[in-house]
């Protein structure tokens, strides 16, 4: 134990970059839950839209981890 830390600084950058998509995905599912709570019968329609929005927001985080390993 000599207190040395090894690793890639890229990962810290990725951690910072993942904040944005994290907040975005949180907002998407918050809106989805709100929508279902107000109108439970719209669940089927909202689910597809929520998952789609999740996938698009998540793409940013995914590109981030790709670049963290590639660069």
């Amino acid at each position: 134990m000599n207190g040395e830390i090894n690793g890639s600084l890229n990962m810290i950058g990725y951690g910072l970059a993942a904040i944005g998509p994290g907040v975005g995905i949180g907002l998407i599912f918050a809106a989805y839950i709100n929508g279902v709570a107000r109108q439970p019968e719209a669940r089927g329609v909202l689910q597809g839209i929520a998952i789609l929005g999740f996938a698009l927001a998540e793409a940013l985080a995914i590109i981030g981890i790709g670049l963290a390993f590639a660069l």
Partner: protein, 267 residues
């Protein structure tokens, strides 16, 4: 038989240092010695394809009005893609794409789930070639049906110049739409699937190898702490099962939406 990636783990076994898992854990030597080309991901593809073929053969053999077990499973999957994905996005005329999209869904789901099946324990889709090829198929299909429906010029005009916007906006919008539809879509489809599986597998490796290191290499008081990463690895395995099926769903849903967008008359 190199079912476990020995090369990258040798360092972990020799020294007392913890060897953090990384991209090297996804590189597998050939199964039958040097010089051959057959690696573990290929083995997973072959086994998975055989399993899918067997499932759908059993499902469609002696199809009857009152379904037996295998037929019920096959029809549930087909019905899920037809009603849950295609029905909501493309609509009735999407019926002709259901066989393609169902095959895609089952193939991706099985390749992903190989990541939590004991002994295999590697999502074949974490190798970029497989999602890339699937994304190219999806890209070719949605561009083909769009050009077939609207003609070559009409398709690109529909895509780049949606009506009802002020003229100067098109300077910005047209190249962006072209870039996003023709170039970005297949890239994000590929990366989303590959890196989800890659990152998921990596997280499992960190938990399991970290726990193993604490238990076997460190020993003593730290051996008791290894219960924490092992417990996490069990929880994360269930989470991974969810993510793996969800990503197959997302891939097929996006493919269906791209086809729907290409077929739509006006945006």
């Amino acid at each position: 038989m190199h079912l476990v990636n020995v090369a990258s783990r040798l360092g972990a076994a020799e020294g007392k240092e913890f060897h953090a898992p990384g991209p090297g854990d996804f590189e597998f030597p050939p199964l039958f010695g040097d010089g051959t080309f057959f690696t573990k991901p290929m083995l997973i593809i072959v086994l998975g394809s055989l399993a899918i073929a067997a499932l759908f053969y059993l499902a469609s053999r002696r199809a009857s009005l009152v379904p037996a077990k295998a037929q019920f499973v096959g029809e549930s999957v087909y019905g899920f893609v037809r009603n849950g994905i295609v029905g909501d996005s493309i609509g009735r005329e999407g019926r002709r794409f259901v066989p393609l999209l169902t095959t895609m869904f089952v193939f991706i789901a099985v390749m992903n789930l190989a990541g939590i099946i004991p002994v295999l324990q590697l999502p074949a889709t974490s190798k970029i070639a497989i999602p890339l090829f699937l994304a190219v198929i999806s890209w070719a299909v949605f561009n083909y049906v769009g050009i077939q429906r609207h003609g070559f010029v009409g398709y690109f005009k529909n895509m780049m110049f949606p009506p009802g916007l002020p003229k100067p906006i098109y300077l910005l919008l047209a190249p962006l739409e072209l870039f996003s539809t023709v170039i970005i879509r297949p890239i994000t489809l590929t990366l989303r699937l590959t890196l989800n599986m890659f990152a998921g597998h990596l997280v499992l490796l960190v938990c399991i190898l970290g726990g193993e290191y604490l238990l076997i290499e460190k020993g003593g008081a730290l051996a008791a702490v290894s219960a924490v990463p092992f417990a996490f690895s069990i929880v994360l395995t269930f989470f991974e099962a969810f993510v793996q099926v969800l990503q197959a769903y997302v891939f097929v849903l996006l493919s269906a939406l791209y086809i729907a967008g290409a077929l739509a008359d006006e945006h």
